[in-house]
Symmetry: C2
Subunit: 249 residues, 2 copies
DNA sequence: GAGTGGTCTAGACCACTTC
DNA sequence: AAGTGGTCTAGACCACTCG
């Protein structure tokens, strides 16, 4: 059931009323003030509180529901949605889920970890400043015991303070971050590279074998949260998406 | 300026009125009955014609505008939009544009062409039936004279009859198809592969060198239109996309 | 100036779901 | 039965922009 919501919706007077309402509630959601499960006030409550007609309030809420920030159900009301675990073509946030959906048994090992200011070569690879304090991890994910993907990740300690006390023994870093950090923006790059010697050894493939490299960086309100390089071995990995001429289906 | 529109909007009585209106107009657009530039009747005309209130008509049109199918301007009215040339992360529809945006000079050669029923190996590679009549093309695209991407494509003659009389001397097949075919759905797959001997020769790279393989198939109302395999050599090609936790930005 | 879309209101009825 | 959102109406005023 929904918790009640603590903060009040405040309009800023800029632009159409329905958009003021939409932005005000969106900000409460993405800032974390209204975490997932929080109850959004019913339409007539917002109507009275904001002095707007029900259609105007409704319009704002419909749009937020379409954007996926809230979930609306008759009688039981409107609550803040849980961010979807996965949504777009290239968005593999949970590797355990990905492996299990392939019907294979998932396991992983943290192969290396370092905390502190990054080495020059690491800073270069992830686009970091040398002054950023990060946790630096190398993780091998396995499907049915065989190497599935090699993950190299940095996590910004300033954005995720809890990372210092976490050893990732029970949950791999990607999944752990989903529960212990907020993000508002991400950037993906995908490319084909040949496996380097060390990578090839860990992935049990030949040096130079083609791999799909997915690089993802995420931010929360323009502050970097994490950056990851996922190296998928060989030609057996494909990323698939469907869409129409006017956008994703 | 907008042409007037020939066909009338017809509702089907299924579901909410605003959605009936939306679907009716969407169908006229995607079927090609209202080509880009066609004038959509003004709100009050649709109101009278359909017996709905203006808010209801407006709601349908707003949604279509948000989906990008129509463009609305005050005073001058609403017209059917031109499909965007490019829209999603992996959607490189025009290779000439892609090359020119990199600031390089574009050129291309049609290396081979065959028309008729596909060889077994081609049918396999593109997921065709042996009975499908297709044009089969091999095209090398160059940037500043150097191989940029190798394109192997099949075009379904049933969906694009004009392909039989076109030699692609002036326009590469991808761009030509944008002007001579309609599509409603597409599927992408992206993977990393090693270059085969023939491909390596054409792309001037070593055999086995990692390449990014983009495979795209498009349909119009469930009828296949074209399928293409784009082989980008080496690690220098990247596909980049940005988005937020609730969808693409 | 006039035609178009953009926004907003006040109220109504309905559908669904939980209590 | 009652509370919630879903839809719809009839009308209003405003903003923009073309002729």
């Amino acid at each position: 059931m929904a918790e009640t919501q603590p903060d009040a919706v405040k309009l800023d007077g800029a632009g159409p009323v329905y958009d003021q309402i939409r932005r005000a509630i969106r900000d409460l959601v993405v800032s974390g003030a209204w975490p997932p499960g929080t109850g959004v006030p019913p339409e007539h409550a917002l109507m009275e509180q904001l002095g707007a007609s029900r259609m105007t309030v409704h319009r704002a809420l419909v749009q937020l529901a379409r954007e996926g920030l809230i979930v609306r159900r008759r009688r039981s009301g409107t609550i803040v949605a849980s961010p979807p675990a996965s949504h777009a073509m290239l968005d593999i946030l949970s590797i355990p889920e990905e492996v299990e959906q392939l019907g294979q048994a998932y396991s992983y090992d943290v192969l290396a970890r370092g905390d502190g200011r990054p080495a020059a070569e690491v800073a270069e690879r992830f686009g970091l400043r040398r002054s950023d304090k990060v946790a630096h991890l190398l993780v091998l994910h396995r499907a049915d015991g065989k190497p599935h993907v090699l993950e190299e990740r940095v996590i910004h300690v300033a954005a995720v303070p809890g990372v210092a006390g976490e050893d990732f023994a029970k949950t791999p870093p990607g999944d752990w971050l989903l529960q212990h950090s907020l993000w508002s923006q991400a950037e993906h790059a995908i490319s084909a590279v040949g496996a380097q010697a060390e990578e090839a050894g860990l992935l049990a493939i030949a040096v130079g074998e083609p791999c799909l490299l997915v690089e993802r960086r995420t931010w929360n309100q323009d502050r970097p949260v994490t950056a990851v390089r996922l190296l998928y071995p060989g030609p057996r990995h494909r990323f698939v998406g469907r869409f129409g001429p006017y956008g994703q289906i």
